[in-house]
C-alpha cells in the first residue's frame, strides 16, 4: 500500500529538523503536524510530545527527519539524520528531503516493508500530500464522520480515511498554541494563529457571556411561566391561542431564545452552528421589525391606516352584496332554481348585514388597536406579519362562514347524488366488500329514489354556483395568508450565519477535499496538493435550515382538488397557508 505523507504547506520553508506527527497505520498515512528544529534535546522533545498527547488524545510521535538543503549538502548532516532514527525509533522512519530548487523533493521510508511487489522502487511507494494546516484545522467535514459524543479513542477508530486526518489535526490544536516567539525548550515550526489581541477580545466576550446568559434565561423562564399559567389555558382562550398565528410565532421565538441563552455550552459544532443561526435570524428579525416600527410611528401613518381600514372592510362587504345580487338574478344566463336561489341569497345577505354592523361597532377603537399592534413590531418583523395575517383572517371572517355553508350544502348534494345515481343504475355500494354490487330494489324504493334524484339534479347548479364563488373568495384570502406565512417561515428558517460563513470563509464548511497533482518527474515521489472542497449553497441551506414553526402541507395538489370538488372542508389557517409552497 502506498505510504502517504501529509505535509503542512507552512513547513515547506522551515529549516531541517524532526518531523512530529501521527502515524495512521490502517491507511498507512503519516500526518505531519510540525517540525522540531535543531538543536534540541531528545528528552525535552519526548516530554513535549507526551504532554501534548495527554491533553489531546492523539498518538503523537517523531515520524522522521526533515532536511531542507539551502546550501550544498554536507555529508555529516545526512549521516546525522540517519543516526537519529536510532534515538526515536519509529516504524516507518521517514526521511523527507527538499533540494535547493524547491521543485525537487525526495522521500525515503526505511523500516517499512511495502507489501506490494518487491520489484517496484520504494520511491513510487511514497506520496507527499501538502495540506493547509489552518484550513484543515478550522474546516468541518460534512457529513460529520465521527459521532460527536463518543470518546476520543473510538472517535479515532471510527473516523475513517480523510476524516481521520482532519480529526488528528483538529485534536492536536494544543500543539499550535505555542508561539513562535516564546523561548520554549524546543523550537517548533507550524501554523501560527495571528491576531492575538482579537483572541483576547473573544476570551473577554466568552467570560462575560456566562452571567448575561443566566440573567436572560431567568427572564425567559419567567415569561414562559406566565404564558403557561392556568388562566390562559381555560377552554375558549386556549382554543383561540391555537388558532392565532401570532401566538404560534411568539411561542416559537420564545423556544429559540431559551435555546440560545441556555448557559451550558454547545458540545458539538452542529449545535453551535444552530445557535448562531438562530441568533442571527432573531437579530435580523428584530432589526427589520424596528425599522418597520420607526416607519409606522413616523408622521401619523397609523391614523391613515386606521382611516383606510374601515372603508376597505365596508367596500369588501359592498362588493359581496353586489355579487350576491348578481347571483340571485340569472348569473351568466345559468339555469338556477329561483326559489332556492332566493333563499340562499337572502341568507347570505343577512350575514353581510350583520358583518357591516359589527365593523361599524368596531370602527372607533381600530386606531388604538392598530397602534398597539404596531408596538408589537419591536418583537420582530415576523410577529408583526403574523399579526397582520390574523387581522386579515378576522376581517374576512364572513367569507369563511359563507365558504363553510356553501361547502356543507354542496357536499350534502354530491353525496346524495352519487348514491342515488347508483340506485338509478340499479347498483348499490357494498360496505363489507368495499365495492359496487348489483342489487334488485323494490318498486317504491326505485320510485322515490328517482324522484329525489331528479330533484337533486335540477337543484345542483344553484348550490354548485354558490359554492364555487365562495370557494374562490376563500382561496384568494388563503393565498394572501399563505404568502405571508411563507415570508415568516423564510425569515424563521433561513440559516443566515452558515450562509455568511460559506460566503466569507468557504473552507469552514467542507463538503470534502479535492486533490491537484503538482508537477512531477520520474523517480521522485508523487506530490499532491489537498484543497478543501466547499459545501454548495443548496446543501448549506438544506443542512442548517432551522425547523420552521408552520406545519407542512398535509395533502398534495391533486388531493386538494379532490377535496374541493367533493366539497369537503379544507381546513383554514395554517395547513392551507403552507399549501402555497
Amino acid at each position: 500500500m502506498v505510504l502517504k505523507a501529509f505535509f503542512p504547506t507552512c513547513c515547506t520553508s522551515a529549516d531541517s529538523g524532526l518531523l512530529v506527527g501521527r502515524w495512521v497505520p490502517e491507511q498507512s498515512s503519516a500526518v505531519i503536524l510540525a517540525v522540531v528544529h535543531f538543536p534540541f534535546i531528545p528528552i525535552q522533545v519526548k516530554e513535549l510530545l507526551a504532554q501534548v498527547q495527554q491533553t489531546s488524545q492523539v498518538g503523537l510521535a517523531v515520524l522522521g527527519t526533515w532536511c531542507h538543503r539551502r546550501q550544498e549538502p554536507e555529508e555529516s548532516l545526512g549521516r546525522f539524520l540517519e543516526g537519529l532514527g536510532a534515538i526515536f525509533s519509529h516504524e516507518p522512519w521517514l526521511q523527507l528531503c527538499r533540494e535547493k530548487g524547491s521543485k525537487l523533493w525526495s522521500c525515503k521510508a526505511t523500516g517499512w516493508q511495502a507489501p506490494t511487489s518487491p520489484g517496484a522502487p520504494s520511491e513510487d511507494q511514497v506520496m507527499i500530500i501538502f495540506y493547509d494546516q489552518r484550513k484543515v484545522l478550522l474546516s468541518q467535514l460534512h457529513p460529520p464522520a465521527a459521532l460527536p459524543d463518543c470518546q476520543a479513542g473510538d472517535a479515532m477508530a471510527s473516523a475513517t480515511g480523510l476524516a481521520a486526518i482532519f480529526d488528528t489535526v483538529a485534536r492536536s490544536e494544543v500543539l499550535f498554541q505555542s508561539d513562535r516567539f516564546d523561548e520554549g525548550p524546543v523550537r517548533l515550526s507550524h501554523w501560527q494563529s495571528e491576531g492575538v489581541e482579537a483572541s483576547i477580545l473573544v476570551e473577554v466576550a466568552k467570560w462575560a457571556s456566562g452571567p448575561i446568559c443566566l440573567l436572560l434565561t431567568y427572564l425567559l423562564s419567567l415569561v414562559s411561566a406566565a404564558s403557561t399559567c392556568r388562566f390562559f389555558n381555560l377552554w375558549p382562550l386556549s382554543f383561540i391561542w391555537s388558532k392565532l398565528s401570532t401566538c404560534e410565532q411568539l411561542r416559537y421565538r420564545l423556544e429559540q431564545l431559551t435555546f440560545i441563552f441556555n448557559p451550558q455550552k454547545a458540545e458539538n459544532p452542529s449545535q453551535l452552528m444552530r445557535k448562531a443561526n438562530m441568533f442571527v435570524s432573531v437579530l435580523l428579525d428584530v432589526a427589520l421589525g424596528l425599522t418597520l416600527l420607526s416607519w409606522l410611528h413616523g408622521k401619523d401613518r397609523i391614523e391613515q391606516l386606521a382611516d383606510a381600514l374601515v372603508p376597505v372592510a365596508d367596500r369588501v362587504a359592498e362588493e359581496l352584496q353586489h355579487l350576491l345580487q348578481w347571483l340571485m338574478g340569472a348569473p351568466a344566463g345559468l339555469k338556477m332554481n329561483r326559489a332556492l336561489d332566493q333563499v340562499l341569497g337572502r341568507f347570505f345577505l343577512y350575514h353581510i348585514h350583520l358583518w357591516i354592523s359589527y365593523i361599524h361597532l368596531m370602527s372607533p377603537f381600530i386606531e388604538r388597536i392598530l397602534w398597539h399592534m404596531g408596538l408589537s413590531a419591536c418583537l420582530g418583523l415576523t410577529v408583526a406579519l403574523s399579526i397582520l395575517s390574523d387581522i386579515i383572517a378576522l376581517l374576512t371572517f364572513h367569507i369563511y362562514c359563507f365558504y363553510v355553508y356553501g361547502a356543507r350544502l354542496y357536499c350534502l348534494k354530491i353525496c346524495g347524488l352519487s348514491s342515488l345515481w347508483r340506485l338509478f343504475r340499479g347498483k348499490k355500494w357494498n360496505v363489507l366488500r368495499q365495492r359496487v354490487d348489483s342489487c334488485s330494489y323494490d318498486l317504491d324504493q326505485l320510485f322515490i329514489g328517482t324522484l329525489l334524484f331528479t330533484i337533486l339534479v335540477f337543484l345542483l347548479p344553484t348550490t354548485a354556483l354558490y359554492y364555487l364563488v365562495f370557494t374562490l373568495l376563500r382561496l384568494l384570502v388563503v393565498t394572501v395568508q399563505g404568502l405571508i406565512h411563507l415570508l415568516v417561515d423564510l425569515i424563521n428558517s433561513l440559516p443566515l450565519y452558515a450562509l455568511g460563513l460559506r460566503l466569507c470563509r468557504p473552507y469552514r464548511l467542507a463538503a470534502g477535499v479535492k486533490f491537484r497533482v503538482l508537477e512531477h518527474e520520474a523517480g521522485r515521489p508523487l506530490r499532491l496538493l489537498m484543497q478543501i472542497n466547499p459545501l454548495p449553497y443548496g446543501r448549506v441551506v438544506h443542512i442548517y435550515r432551522l425547523p420552521s414553526c408552520g406545519c407542512h402541507p398535509k395533502h398534495s395538489w391533486s388531493s386538494l382538488c379532490r377535496k374541493l370538488f367533493f366539497g369537503e372542508l379544507i381546513y383554514p389557517w395554517r395547513q392551507r397557508g403552507d399549501k402555497q409552497d
Binding site: N337, R338, R425, G426, Y441, L443, L446, T454
Partner: protein, 297 residues
C-alpha cells in the same frame, strides 16, 4: 423429423396427437387438415309467426310510451281533466291488480312472500310521496328552457326503450335503469304541466303505465297468449287513435313503425338466415348452455 422420406408417410398414418413423435415434418399438412371445420351449426330456423308473436313485446312498449306522451299532451293542452285521468287510472290499476291475482293464482305471492299489506303500503307510498313532492316538481324546472326538457325526456324515453327487458339476455338489458329513465322523463314532463295537481297525476300515471302494466303483460303472455295478442292489438290501436287525434303524420309514421317492427323485421330476419356463413370448429370458445344463476340466487 424433417429427415424422414415421404415413403414412410403412407404406411404410418398421421394422427392428430401431440404427445407422441410422428415421422412427419412439423409443418406437415395431412388430408385430414381442417376436417372438423363446420359451418352454421347454430343457425336456428325461425318460424315466421312465432317471430311476429315475440315482436309484440316491443310493440307493446312502443305503444305505452306513445300513450304516455299522448296523455301528457292532452293534459298540457288542458283537454283532459286531471281528476278524470286519476279516476280512470285508479280504476284500471285496480282492475289490473285483480286480473293479475287471478292469473297468478297466488303462487307468485307464495314464492316472494309478499303480502297484500305490503302492496297497499307501497301504493300509499307512491301516492303520498308524489303528492308531497308535486309542488316542488312544479317549480323544479321553470328556469330550464322547454326545449331542454323535451330533449331530455325524449332521450330518457329512448333509453327506456333501449334498456327495457324484452326477454333477450343481452348485456345492456337492465329493467331497473329503464324504469328509472322512464320515471325521470315523466318527472321532467310533469314539471311542465300547468298546476301541481297535474304533475302529481302525471307521475302516478307514469308509474302505472311503465311499472305496473308490463308486469301484467308478462303474466298475460305467460298464461293466455291468445288474449295477450288481443290486448296487444287493442292497445296498439288505441295508441294509434290517440296519436291520430294529435297529428295525422305522426300517426302514420308510428303505424308504419309498428308494422315494420311486427311484420317486416321478422321477414328480413328469416331471409337473411340464408346468407349466414359462420365458421365453427374445435377452436371455438364453448358457450355455457345452462344458466348458472340458480347457484347464486
Amino acid at each position: 423429423m424433417s429427415a424422414e422420406p415421404e415413403t414412410q408417410a403412407e404406411e404410418i398414418r398421421w394422427q392428430k396427437v401431440l404427445y407422441e413423435r410422428q415421422p412427419f415434418p412439423d409443418n406437415y399438412v395431412d388430408q385430414r387438415f381442417l376436417e372438423e371445420l363446420r359451418k352454421n351449426i347454430h343457425a336456428r330456423k325461425y318460424r315466421y309467426w312465432a317471430v311476429v308473436f315475440e315482436s309484440s313485446v316491443v310493440v307493446q312498449q312502443l305503444c305505452s310510451v306513445c300513450v304516455f306522451v299522448v296523455i301528457w299532451w292532452y293534459m298540457d293542452e288542458g283537454l283532459l281533466a286531471p281528476h278524470w285521468l286519476f279516476g280512470t287510472g285508479l280504476a284500471s290499476s285496480l282492475v289490473g291488480y285483480i286480473l293479475f291475482d287471478l292469473l297468478d293464482g297466488g303462487e307468485g305471492r307464495r314464492k316472494s312472500g309478499r303480502t297484500r299489506w305490503a302492496d297497499l303500503k307501497s301504493a300509499l307510498v307512491f301516492i303520498t310521496f308524489t303528492y308531497g313532492f308535486s309542488p316542488i316538481l312544479k317549480t323544479l324546472t321553470e328556469s330550464v328552457s322547454t326545449d331542454t326538457i323535451y330533449a331530455m325526456s325524449v332521450f330518457m324515453l329512448l333509453g327506456h326503450l333501449v334498456f327495457f327487458d324484452y326477454g333477450a339476455n343481452a348485456a345492456i338489458v337492465s329493467s331497473t335503469l329503464s324504469l328509472n329513465m322512464a320515471i325521470f322523463a315523466s318527472v321532467c314532463l310533469a314539471s311542465r304541466l300547468p298546476r301541481s295537481l297535474h304533475a302529481f297525476i302525471m307521475v302516478s300515471f307514469a308509474i302505472q303505465i311503465f311499472a305496473l302494466w308490463p308486469m301484467l303483460q308478462k303474466k298475460l303472455k305467460a298464461r293466455t297468449p291468445r288474449s295477450y295478442v288481443g290486448v296487444t292489438l287493442l292497445f296498439a290501436f288505441s295508441a294509434l287513435a290517440g296519436l291520430l287525434s294529435i297529428s295525422v303524420v305522426g300517426a302514420t309514421l308510428f303505424a308504419l313503425l309498428l308494422v315494420s317492427i311486427s311484420c317486416l323485421c321478422p321477414f328480413y330476419l328469416i331471409r337473411l338466415q340464408l346468407f349466414k356463413e359462420n365458421i365453427h370448429g374445435p377452436w371455438d370458445e364453448a358457450e355455457i348452455k345452462e344458466d348458472l344463476s340458480r347457484f347464486l340466487s
